[in-house]
Structure formats: structure tokens, C-alpha cells
């Protein structure tokens, strides 16, 4: 067997590796700490594969460019941090409405505004769900290690292509800039999904047809299928509409194609939950400390388990309810003033005590801090 390809990489570099593995051939971006290495890595690697990298004039332009690249046939990504993600929201909404697959990485730093460029945060969690105006369902994934960043980036591309939707990867400064030795997967080791293309003759093609799974096949430019794409609410032909009956069909399509297939999208990691009386729920870099704290507490005989959310949106309601239903207590750990905890409160029965451990001073949560919280809650 060939020697394993092991590399010492930071999270941002692993993100680029994952994207290339998934078939990314177009990247547009604008420099911003702590995400810049994603753009730099893409600038270096893409031309070697015949792919394209462009530094745009701003993030408004970056997201627009990757949507243009995607409709014309490329798998495309952009990377940014909070201030840039805020600017991108306009056309992330366009990608939701026009159902164009793209991947957007938000390496979170402290906010609001320019905030804390070099400090960690998880305060864009709700923004990833609801950031752009209007009603829509969205997909967001959150890795916690350099290794997961590679595999979650592959998964993000697969979800984008499968569901014809923008997918956000929420990284944070700690994962983005930590270096770990990871194994680069061999081709074929992970499934790579490509968008479904139409097989009907072009004159029969309905660009926003309501199909069985609500996802419409998507041709690339130049393949004979000429159709109209617009951010205006449109009918199945892609033409603007004001008809109530057609508006409902469109908005339901955006929702159902995701909400009806949550089982395909949800990914969580469950540790030591079998007999757990307390569950620690977390995502991103906090999950590393949560796992460590859980192991230490188990050694001391505490019946605690932990649940890591790789998929944040759509929120894994069914799974959390099943897993935590038998617990007496839950601790939600986040690097913000409380965002995902509201979702947990929304779904868990009232008799479960929901506790939080939060940090929003630009520093990470440590296993010791989580243990202290555990002691307090016991």
C-alpha cells in the first residue's frame, strides 16, 4: 500500500484541501483575518489544477462571482469572517432564491462590527441561519478539529450540490489557526456528489420544476439549456411572479427540499450518552474541551455524556430530543452570549434543566471550566 499522505496543516489549509477534494475549481474572496489563508491556499493550488482564483474588490463581489461561476458550471467557494459574511448576506440570499450551490466559509471572530479580528468566537451561529432577509431553510456545518475541517468541507460541497443551496461552514479562529497532523484522504475514499443535470430535451426543461424531492436538475451554461435566473420570486419557468399560488410553491420548495431530508443532512457525534444523566451539547472548537471534560468527569464517576453538532442548521431536533430526553440536566457550551441554547430550550421538555457555559471574551472554553460548570450543576 502506498504511504499515507500525512501533513501538518492549520484548519484553513485543511479547508482548502477538502474543497479541492470535493472538486472546487473556482474561488473568489477578499482578505480578512482569520480566514485569509483559505484564499491564499486557493490562489496557490487552483491554477495547478486548471481552476480559477480571483481576489475581488469586496465580499459583495466575491459571493456574486462564485454564484456566476456555479451557474456556469463550476463548484465554487468563498471564505471570509464576520464583517465579510455580513456583506455577503445579500447574495447568499440570491443563491437561496435561485437555488445555486455554493460554499461559504465563515471563520468566526469576535463581533459585532470589526470586533476582534484575531480572537475566537461563535457569535455568528444565528446569523448563519437567519442572516439574509426572507424565509428559507439553510444548511450550516461546524467542524471542531483540523481533520474534521477537511471532511466537513467535502460534506459542505456535497450538501450544496445535492440540495442546490448555499452551505455555510462555520469555522472559528482556534480551529482555523491550530496546526494538527492530518491524513489527506485518497481519491475515492469519500463520496463526492455532483449536481444532477437535466436529461430532457432543452425545450422541455423547466428550470424550477417541482420534482419529487423538490430539487430541480441544473445544467451548466453552454449545454443548450437557456433559461432565466432571477432573485425575484419566480414560477417554475424562472419568470418573475406575483401570483399568490406561485409564490407559495416557490417558498415551499425552498423549505421542503431541506426540511424533508434532514436525515441526510444531520450529523452529530455522540459520546458516553448511553447512561448519561447530564449531556453537554456543543459545536466547533468548544466540542474539544467538552469531550475532554466528559472523559475526566467519567473517570470521577459522573454520569455525563457529550453531543457534538456537526450540522447546526437545520437544527437536529429529533436527535437531541431522543438523546437528551432521559437526561435530567443539559449544559450548552458556546463562545457567545447564548445562541444555540435557545434552540435547545425550544425543543427539550420543560422538566429538563438547561444550563449554559458561555465565553465571549475572545478566549476559548477550557476543559477545566466545563468541569467546574459540571460540578456547579450536579
Amino acid at each position: 500500500m502506498a504511504k499515507e499522505n500525512r501533513q501538518l496543516l492549520q484548519g484553513n489549509a485543511a479547508c482548502v484541501q477538502g474543497a479541492l477534494y470535493a472538486g472546487m475549481r473556482f474561488f473568489a474572496g477578499y482578505p480578512i483575518t482569520p480566514s485569509t489563508e483559505i484564499a491564499e491556499g486557493s490562489a496557490r493550488e487552483l491554477p495547478k489544477l486548471g481552476g480559477k482564483f480571483i481576489q475581488m474588490e469586496d465580499e459583495l463581489g466575491s459571493i456574486a462571482a462564485i454564484i456566476g461561476a456555479s451557474v456556469s458550471g463550476a463548484k465554487a467557494m468563498t471564505g471570509t469572517s464576520g464583517p465579510g459574511y455580513s456583506l455577503m448576506l445579500e447574495n447568499i440570499g440570491y443563491a437561496f432564491m435561485t437555488e445555486v450551490p455554493v460554499v461559504v466559509v465563515n471563520v468566526q471572530r469576535g463581533g459585532p462590527s470589526t470586533g476582534l479580528p484575531t480572537k475566537v468566537s461563535q457569535s455568528d451561529t444565528m446569523q448563519a441561519r437567519w442572516g439574509t432577509h426572507g424565509d428559507y431553510s439553510s444548511i450550516t456545518v461546524a467542524p471542531s478539529t483540523v481533520g474534521d475541517t477537511l471532511t466537513e468541507t467535502i460534506r459542505a460541497f456535497n450538501l450544496a450540490e445535492r440540495f442546490r443551496t448555499p452551505v455555510t461552514i462555520l469555522l472559528d479562529e482556534v480551529i482555523a489557526h491550530s496546526r494538527e497532523i492530518i491524513r489527506i484522504p485518497e481519491p475515492g475514499e469519500y463520496e463526492v456528489i455532483d449536481r444532477v443535470k437535466p436529461t430532457c430535451p432543452p425545450e422541455e426543461y423547466l428550470p424550477y420544476e417541482i420534482t419529487e424531492n423538490y430539487v430541480t436538475p441544473m445544467p451548466a451554461y453552454g449545454e443548450g439549456y437557456r433559461y432565466h435566473i432571477t432573485g425575484l420570486t419566480h414560477d417554475q419557468h424562472g419568470f418573475p411572479t406575483n401570483k399568490p399560488s406561485e409564490i407559495i410553491v416557490k417558498l415551499d420548495k425552498l423549505k421542503k427540499k431541506i426540511e424533508n431530508y434532514k436525515d441526510e443532512i444531520t450529523k452529530i457525534r455522540v459520546e458516553m450518552m448511553d447512561d448519561a444523566e447530564i449531556a453537554i451539547i456543543s459545536y466547533g472548537s468548544v466540542s474539544r474541551a467538552a469531550l475532554q471534560a466528559t472523559m475526566l468527569a467519567r473517570e470521577a464517576g459522573v454520569k455525563v455524556g457529550c453531543i457534538q453538532l456537526y450540522t447546526i442548521w437545520p437544527f437536529p431536533e429529533k436527535e437531541l430530543l431522543e438523546l437528551c430526553g432521559k437526561c435530567q440536566k443539559v449544559i450548552v457550551g458556546e463562545l457567545n452570549m447564548g445562541q444555540i441554547v435557545h434552540e435547545v430550550e425550544r425543543i427539550l421538555p420543560r422538566d429538563i434543566s438547561i444550563n449554559t457555559i458561555q465565553r465571549y471574551d475572545g478566549e476559548i472554553l477550557t476543559p477545566v471550566q466545563i468541569l467546574e460548570k459540571l460540578e456547579e450543576v450536579l
Partner: protein
Amino acid sequence: MATVTEKKAPKQKSDVTLHYLRPGKKFPNVWCPGCGIGIVMGAYIRALDKLGWDRNKVAMVSGIGCSSRMPVYLDFHALHTTHGRALPFATGVKFNRPDMNVVVITGDGDALAIGGNHFIHACRRNINITVILINNNIYGMTGGQGSPTTPSHSYSTTTPYGNAEKHFDPCTLAKAAGATFVARGTVANVPQLEKLASQALQHHGFSLLEVVTNCHTYYGRLNRMGDAVTMIQKFKEDAVMLGKAKKMTPEELEGKFIVGVLHEEEKTEFCDVYDQVVEHVSPK
């Protein structure tokens, strides 16, 4: 638009436009009767038809505004985007697929206000995109507010006492920012417009065609300039060919505008240069 009602008319010049209308689209269009945007569309289609391009290789990208509605009616790949952002979308299409002919349809507000930054940077890159900037000196779609080309002292719904600001000249701006083909035409001279459109489409590099047109519904009405015909007639009087303008004094040119190819040069094109990079770094 006149060409649509003429569907059954015997063979005449506008037939070619009908040939390019998107099937299945319910007409009429969104434009006011007499709006110059339809004239621009006709000239553009006739120019494109003469070039004989495969319509699967044409992508029309637009922003938001009356002018930006054009791609919905035409049977090409059409990307009707967000306000001001047509150029970065078009940049994504063109850079990803240099084999596509990419045409941006935009308005003065779309290209120069909200999209001003994208506009200058697209010029700077000299990416092979053709921009048809339909300049009606006002925000038509939202009902007549001032735009970056609303002349000083002119009236709009947001400059009710006359515009206190100065206005942009899109052509001067484009040239300064690095565009390699810059031309201006008007809906009052359609044969010339068609010729300029053809030149702009064929230019290898960033090309801008500014078309001076009428929004009689708002700009005309608010500035007491008369109906569509009167406004277009006035453009005919005010448009001066570049050659003639060169012999005129600034005083003589006061209130006039210059039409023709204002700037043309050969420079390396962005996608070509990047292709060379790919060639250089990709493993042999």
C-alpha cells in the same frame, strides 16, 4: 414594445428581434410605452444577429432596474442579479467560462451608484465583458429619484429643488479606470447604436457602451422635457460626433454630448493572462 405587436407583420427589419425573444414569456413587458430601452434591445439584437454568435454561448447578466429587465425577454442564458452586482456575477461567469460571450445590461444607478466599485474594478481588470449602460439620468424603476448621472440642478423626486450634486460621466470614468473600449450612442441614432454595439461586442477586453436614452415617465416629466418623441428629438440635436466635437470650442459644446467610439486600445485581457499562469504552473 412595438416589435411584439408586429408579430404578424410582413418581413421587415424588426423580424430578427422577434426571432430572439424568449419562448413562453408572457408579454407585454414591464417598460412604459415609448421607453428607449426597447430601442436599445433592438439595436443590440440586430448587432448580435449579424455577428452570428451561437446563442448557447451568450450570457446576459443584469442588475436591478427597468433596463436590467431586458435579459428576461431574450433567449440567451440570463442572470438577473441583485442591484449593482451584475458585474461581479458576470466576472464569475466569464472567468469560469472564457468561451462564453458575456454581456451586462445595466442602468446608471445600477452601474455607477450601488455598483460603482464593481464597475471601476471590472474596467481595471480589462476582463472581456461588454457592458451596455442604459443611461436615462434617473432611477426609473423606483419612480424617479436622483442618480449619479442626474445633471446638477436637474429635478428628481429626491432633488425636488434641483440637484445639488455633480454628476459622473460614465465614459470618462471607464476610460480612467482602464476600460479598453469606450463608446457612447443614443436611442436617437439607431444605425449608429447598432454599429457601436457590434464594435463593443467584438472588442477583446472590457468594453463599455453608454446609451443615452429617455425616461420620459420620470426624468422627462419632472424636468418638463416633453414626451418620449420630444426627448429623443432633443438627443438628436444634442449629440455631436467625436470628429466634429474635436473642432468645437468648450462653449459650443455646452449642453451637448459626444457620441462615437471615445476610446479604444489593445491591452492584455484578464482571462488570457490567467490562462498563461495556469499553463505555467500546471504539472507538465
